[in-house]
């Protein structure tokens, strides 16, 4: 019923969509996969009216339509659930749901809050979310917010007579596994009323949910497969144009760690409200993975190791001694390096060059009396650009202009070149394409071989299993179970999930 015919979109110098055909039937769930930059976002923007195509037509039930803006698309029943959460966090849930459509509740110039709240309740019921619509959005968890977003889009139901098409852009990226399940079951139920277009980096989820899958590469649809015939490897092959190595996580390169050398240890450590009674040892050459849902205490443990969080009880030893002062500076001085989840916010400084970013944490080593030895900095940067094959024209390139994968490499180079041997990785592959992910996995192995210990919070459970020597499962801040992850003896997904939830 909704159809794109030979749709073309050009930007100066780039052919972003190359005569794309796209169909979605009533009640269908269509998956959309492709590497970063394959044209997924452009296609979605065309669908929900943010871009106007340069060529081709869009038809709904055979009638040609043309949207000047997303609002017009909405009037035709097309709604978008945004990846970056589009809720305004200081407004209430009800206000967010009806943002821009308050007119229906206005009586004599005043908003009838009761009516709005009741209407919001009905919307929330559709997504099975039992929260008070008067709650301020910032108080919700990310998963709840995602559902509120969906509820907001579902208001189209009441406004529009015809069919609905709802776009889900990376809806699962901030959700834990059980929340993903919840969302999926919800989406399946809602197919009685709407069709869905589902975009995700996580191939397994796309396969699980979608009836058909569109595979995009370089602005063109290269394949359409039905769920029954879909195979992860075949799709990945189509997406990247090459085989995805069976040894994706570099298991063959995993060497046993040095059990005699403890780099950091937690002894019954607690941080009030975050986690409780956690103990572990991190050894040289070990990848220790913390597994748990969002809010299980994984990130808080990383922050504690990095001196950003002060333990309320228990003992932390880094290189055999506790911190004198709980600060990041102290941690950095002890050789701890932190690769945060949000690269743009906490990983690299936009506007600073590659070499400036690399020496940011270790300027003392490259200065005398406060004056920088820039030649040495550049030499270091050039060395690491080669070692990690960072794709940058030169050391002067603004780091903000690099691709995500290369930014991640710069961050890793920053810590490794500074001699950090306790590396904290928080979702290091989030938002990277497959090639860049593999580079990161390679680096993880190399760091271990060089004697570094890594504490990892992985992006997916597969990644956690594939990469780690040791897995600690956490739930609500409490330790559940320890798994050994030697090659050939790795725990299964089910084992982990069983203890997570």
């Amino acid at each position: 019923m909704y159809q794109l015919n030979q749709v073309d979109k050009k930007f100066p110098g780039v052919h972003a969509l190359k005569s794309v055909d796209f169909t979605i039937g009533r009640g269908e769930i269509v998956g959309l996969v492709g590497e970063n930059g394959a044209g997924k976002s452009t296609l979605m923007k065309v669908i929900y009216g943010a871009y106007q195509p340069d060529g081709g037509t869009i038809t709904i039930d055979g009638k040609t339509v043309r949207f000047q803006n997303p609002r017009q698309a909405m009037d035709h029943g097309i709604g978008m659930v945004f990846q970056e959460q589009s809720l305004i966090t200081n407004l209430t849930v009800a206000e967010n749901i009806f943002l821009g459509f308050e007119q229906q509740f206005v009586r004599w110039g005043v908003i009838d809050w009761k009516a709005m709240t009741a209407a919001a309740k009905r919307q929330l019921a559709k997504v099975k979310l039992a929260i008070d619509p008067a709650t301020v959005t910032s108080k919700l968890s990310f998963a709840q917010r995602q559902l509120v977003e969906l509820a907001k889009v579902l208001t189209l139901e009441e406004r529009i007579d015809g069919d609905l098409v709802i776009l889900l852009d990376e809806p699962t990226s901030v959700l834990a596994r059980e929340e993903v399940e919840l969302l999926f079951s919800l989406v399946r139920e809602l197919t009685s009323r709407a069709s869905f277009i589902f975009v995700s980096h996580r191939m397994d989820e796309v396969l699980e949910l979608s009836d058909r899958i569109y595979v995009m590469k370089d602005g063109a649809v290269v394949d359409v497969v039905a769920q029954a015939e879909a195979q992860v490897e075949a799709i990945q092959h189509k997406m990247v144009g090459r085989d995805v190595d069976k040894e994706y996580y570099r298991e063959q390169k995993q060497r046993p760690y040095d059990a005699s050398k403890v780099l950091a240890s937690f002894d019954n450590v607690s941080v009030a409200g975050k986690y409780d009674g956690i103990s572990f040892d991190l050894h040289a050459g070990e990848v220790l993975c913390l597994v748990g849902t969002e809010g299980s205490g994984r990130e808080a443990i990383l922050r504690t190791v990095f001196g950003l969080e002060k333990p309320t009880s228990g003992t932390i030893k880094v290189k055999g001694a506790p911190y004198a002062r709980t600060t990041a500076q102290e941690a950095v001085a002890r050789g701890v390096g932190y690769v945060p989840r949000e690269r743009k916010v906490e990983g690299i400084v936009n506007g600073m060059t590659v070499y400036e970013n690399m020496t940011l944490s270790q300027m003392k080593n490259y200065s005398s009396g406060g004056v920088l030895r820039i030649a040495e900095e550049k030499a270091l940067a050039e060395d690491w650009i080669k070692r990690l094959s960072i794709k940058t024209p030169d050391v002067y390139k603004d780091c903000g202009g690099l691709s995500g994968g290369n930014q991640q490499k710069v961050v890793l180079a920053k810590w490794r070149s500074g001699g950090s041997d306790i590396i904290l990785l928080d979702h290091p592959t989030r938002g990277l394409d497959i090639g860049a992910k593999e580079d990161v996995y390679d680096m993880v192995r190399e760091m271990c071989d060089a004697g570094a210990g890594i504490i990892l919070v992985a992006d997916t459970l597969e990644e956690a299993i594939g990469l780690s020597h040791t897995i600690l499962v956490l739930k609500d801040g409490v330790f559940q179970k320890r798994f050994d992850g030697s090659p050939g003896d790795k725990p299964s997904l089910y084992d982990l999930v069983h203890h997570m939830i």
């Binding site: 970063n36 400084v349 936009n350 600073m352 940011l360």
Partner: protein, 328 residues
């Protein structure tokens, strides 16, 4: 890949435009005034513009560092007044001529500036008061202090040696222009070659990240304000050198002029972008307008309007409005 390429390509041309626009504006202004009045384009007139501009340049450089950090320092008027008055009293007390121990008044004034800046930074960082508020308050304290010290009086500095800053010329430009040039180079050195300068950009580019890289952000901030204080003091010394008077009013107008100059020069108010050369161009734009308007015979209020328009233009140019959808 396709999409990222477009944005970068469009971005490069925009970046280039933003980078060179201030200089372009300056050249266009100079050309315009030269066409309207050929006498504008003479060494003597450029010397006049530079004499007027040097104190503001020093103050603007000081505040540039702060703005690069993403903070703001509005204490310049009070700081300049206090430094000028402290210098004048110290100078007269120690003998009133550079040929005596009175030269010590120069480092003394810079020390006063540093202390004011240090206190300013300390209040901002330790009491967690927004820099805008902390520095504005410090500025009032400074103005008040200068008023108490002078009782509203003016102190004349008549020493021929000190006034040589204005009266002695090399290649047609008075000494103060060279002194300002020297401090500009020092500022450039600090900006590009020292850990402190690098840290300013790191803090301005992403404070969370600076913390996550183990930088002592509080220390960087306090040092930044201290450094700004020293440059305010240099500005005060040149202001006294220019008119031979130290008074509470010495600091007047520096806030508007220096912030305008920094913004017009292309340093972004949210930090991380820009530098002292931008500020030099910005200061020159402001003073070329001030001089050129009078030289071609336009009334003063047109000047203010033109400056205001330039500020808006500068902010429009330096803001990637695609990335910022709402402005508060």
């Amino acid at each position: 890949m396709a999409i990222t390429q477009t944005t970068t390509r469009a971005g490069i041309s925009r970046d280039t435009l933003v980078k060179w626009a201030p200089l372009l504006v300056l050249l266009v202004l100079c050309a315009f005034f030269a066409v309207m009045e050929p006498r504008f384009l003479s060494t003597r007139n450029f010397a006049r513009i530079l004499i007027a501009a040097t104190p503001t340049l020093m103050v603007a450089i000081g505040v540039t560092f702060i703005i690069i950090m993403g903070s703001i320092d509005l204490s310049m008027e009070g700081a300049v007044s206090v430094c000028a008055v402290a210098f004048a009293y110290c100078f007269l007390w120690l003998g009133g001529t550079l040929a005596s121990w009175a030269w010590l008044a120069i480092p003394f004034a810079m020390l006063v500036g540093a202390v004011l800046g240090f206190v300013n930074g300390l209040i901002h960082v330790k009491l967690k008061i927004p820099s805008f508020m902390a520095s504005l308050a410090m500025g009032f304290v400074g103005t008040g202090l200068a008023m108490v010290m002078t009782g509203g009086d003016r102190i004349r500095i008549e020493d021929e040696l000190f006034r040589a800053l204005l009266t002695e010329r090399i290649f047609g430009f008075p000494l103060m222009v060279y002194v300002a040039g020297l401090f500009l180079l020092i500022a450039w050195f600090i900006q590009t070659r020292t850990t402190l300068g690098r840290n300013f950009y790191a803090v301005g580019g992403g404070e969370d990240l600076a913390v996550a890289s183990g930088l002592n952000v509080a220390r960087v901030r306090i040092m930044g304000f201290t450094l700004a204080g020293v440059f305010f003091a240099v500005g005060a010394l040149l202001a006294v050198g220019r008119i031979g008077i130290a008074e509470t009013a010495t600091g007047n107008n520096f806030m508007f002029l220096s912030i305008t100059a920094v913004v017009v020069g292309g340093t972004a108010l949210w930090g991380g972008i820009g530098g002292v050369w931008n500020t030099l161009v910005g200061v020159l734009i402001v003073f070329v307008i001030g001089n050129g308007m009078v030289v071609i015979g336009l009334p003063g209020y047109v000047q203010d309007a033109v400056l205001g328009l330039l500020v808006i233009l500068a902010v429009i140019l330096s803001t990637d409005r695609k990335s910022i959808s709402f402005v508060k």
